[in-house]
């Protein structure tokens, strides 16, 4: 049963298995373990990032191509929900319609970009996606009649998912069963299903071909696989998963604007998480997102303490300022590309294989 569920892709390391189960349990019971709005928000953000990062890993880690337009698809998903909910009023039909249109748009865009750039060489794809993503972001903030411009859109969710909704009067295990909780579990199970689906994809014969292309494009072509076709399919799949992640974000925040879903900072975050968590391992996305989002939400305070403690040395203090945490992450990123390109997960697996 478990074998089928995780597509025969076991963690292959005791530490990794423990970590994954810990993350799974922590996310499953967050509302009951840690009370408070902030904890729940952090947990929801982790869920969204797990899907987003895993979908990016499909492209970067398994197919070996770098796209900088991943947040574009993320944004399309979020805007799909946002625009549909604003226009059609809150309701399940708005969510479904928004998601459907967003998925269709992502499909067409991913296909177009893929056909244009993947034919030539992989490095073209990176450059073109960078340019297209920037243009799309400008477009989204300029079409203010539709997208709300820089201010973004605030909208309502269907009754069941809105914070005012109460499932029962009496709290269960000290937690009130409101719409917020239901939204959280909607996100949780969506993430679980999508993650297992992605595991299925990368461990299928199709996923093996992708890895073959990553390792040696020429040889894969020589064996008879049509590289362009596989790469384009992979980039479309990854775009579709990212779109769903964006829809999840919009459902949770009940708001969307260019900075929340389209900004280049998110793109960089995703890149950092994939590499530090482990390229070519879907599990790395889960661990990386968990660690990253928690660090982003809580560790910055720690850096702030360090900055205050060193206020006698202005230079050191400026370096340790919580606003500069991307600097340290960037260093960690460069070091991990050099010294452990398979990331945390790859390291743990290597240790497991030896021990």
């Amino acid at each position: 049963m478990l074998n089928r569920l995780i597509s025969n892709d076991y963690p292959r390391s005791r530490v990794l298995a423990v970590l994954l189960v810990a993350i799974l349990l922590a996310l499953a019971f967050t509302p009951f373990i840690v009370p408070g709005v902030k904890a729940l928000n952090v947990a929801a953000k982790i869920l969204v990032f797990i899907v987003l990062v895993a979908s990016f890993d499909l492209l970067l880690g398994y197919t070996g191509i770098v796209s900088f337009a991943h947040t574009m698809f993320f944004g399309i998903g979020a805007y799909g929900i946002a625009i549909a909910s604003t226009r059609m009023g809150p309701g399940w039909s708005a969510i479904l319609a928004g998601l459907a249109v967003a998925l269709a748009l992502s499909f067409v865009l991913a296909l177009a970009v893929g056909l244009f750039s993947l034919r030539v060489r992989a490095i073209f794809f990176s450059m073109i996606t960078l340019a297209v993503a920037a243009a799309f972001q400008t477009l989204a903030s300029q079409l203010s009649e539709i997208t709300g411009g820089e201010d973004g859109l605030t909208f309502k969710m269907p009754e069941l998912l809105s914070p005012g909704f109460q499932l029962s009067e009496s709290p269960f295990l000290g937690v009130s069963l409101d719409g917020r909780l239901i939204s959280y579990y909607l996100l949780f199970f969506t993430t679980l299903v999508l993650l297992l689906a992605m595991l299925r994809i990368v461990n299928s014969p199709f996923g093996r071909v992708l890895q073959a292309i990553r390792e040696n494009e020429f040889r894969a072509e020589a064996i008879g696989y049509r590289v362009v076709l596989y790469r384009t399919t992979s980039s479309i799949l990854s775009a579709l998963f990212a779109t769903v992640a964006g829809a999840m974000l919009a459902i949770w925040l009940r708001y969307n604007g260019p900075d929340t879903s389209l900004s280049f900072e998110i793109m960089l975050d995703v890149l950092l998480i994939v590499v530090i968590g482990g390229m070519g391992t879907i599990y790395g996305a889960a661990i990386g997102s968990g660690v990253f989002v928690v660090a982003q939400s809580y560790l910055q305070d720690l850096l702030g303490l360090g900055s205050d403690a060193t206020s006698g040395l202005p230079w050191l203090s400026a370096l340790l300022s919580p606003d500069r945490w991307l600097l340290w992450l960037g260093l960690l990123f460069v070091l991990s590309v050099y010294y452990f390109p398979t990331g945390v997960v790859g390291r743990l697996r290597a240790m497991g294989a030896r021990g």
Binding site: V120, I123, S126, I128, A135, T138, L319, L326, G330, V337
Partner: protein, 326 residues
Amino acid sequence: MNKIDFDWKPLALVPVLALLVLPFIGSGSTWVTLTVAGLAMGMIIFIIASGLTLVFGLMDVLNFGHGVFIALGAFVATSVLGAMGDYTASASLWRNMMAVLPAMVVAMLVAGAVGVAFERFIVRPVYGNHLKQILITMGGMIIGEELIKVIWGPLQIPLPLPEGMRGSIFLGDAGVEKYRVIAVVVGLLVFGILLWVLTRTKIGLLIRAGVQDREMVESLGYRIKVLFVGVFVVGSALAGLGGVMWGLYQQSVIPQMGAQVNILIFIVLIIGGLGSTTGALIGALLVGLMANYTGFLVPKAALFSNIALMMAILLWRPQGVYALSR
């Protein structure tokens, strides 16, 4: 290359584009203003892009962190020009030049020096691996941008043009900003020097030979690695120079400007063909003109028009207008 073999079609694109939009703009004087502005912007972009395209052609390394040198150059210029208030406030163009020239030289030196470190620690360990190159130069970009924020602060800093470079010159009815003329002159100067070095000196000969066949040059006993470090450093210094000019063009600098300009540069390289210097010039001029024309005609579509231009060029020549033959 033989004169007869020379592929002139891409060169014709620039005047063709300029003439095609003339009827849409209507007024001739506006057209002159826009065209000069576009050429100025194109020349600045070319200065920045030339180093990147040479590095790619020579060593097959695409530096996604090139933008850092642009921002670095611009920020160094704010410091240098800020310290030379006497000279920038003067209305005499020559006294202004006394301030801007050192600012350019210092920016080039700093960007070049950082380029040495960047090549040594960021690029050198990942030769021959495109995926890692993209990742690691992007990482270098993040680190560089954050360090700029540490040194100069995260906010936008104004970089006003020196007094004597403000205002416009009138050619008939058409007003042309003085600085744009200066930008075109500096750009042509850089292009001229680059062309001279590439076609008339031994080093240029080696660089061109290296672009065509690196192994052959190596087997003839030349140390192409050293050559490459040199090209990388010069490319970084040129990006620094371009950063100063871009900063003065925008009259303000922000740490994120590197990433923003990088996008334009990539569009230019894709249009021009990765590795080709002439291609980069044509791409830069096309992008500069396109940005100014659409900025006037349909302001909302400014960045989009460049993407459209790129797509159109790729439909015509999938490898860019001047593709390297490999």
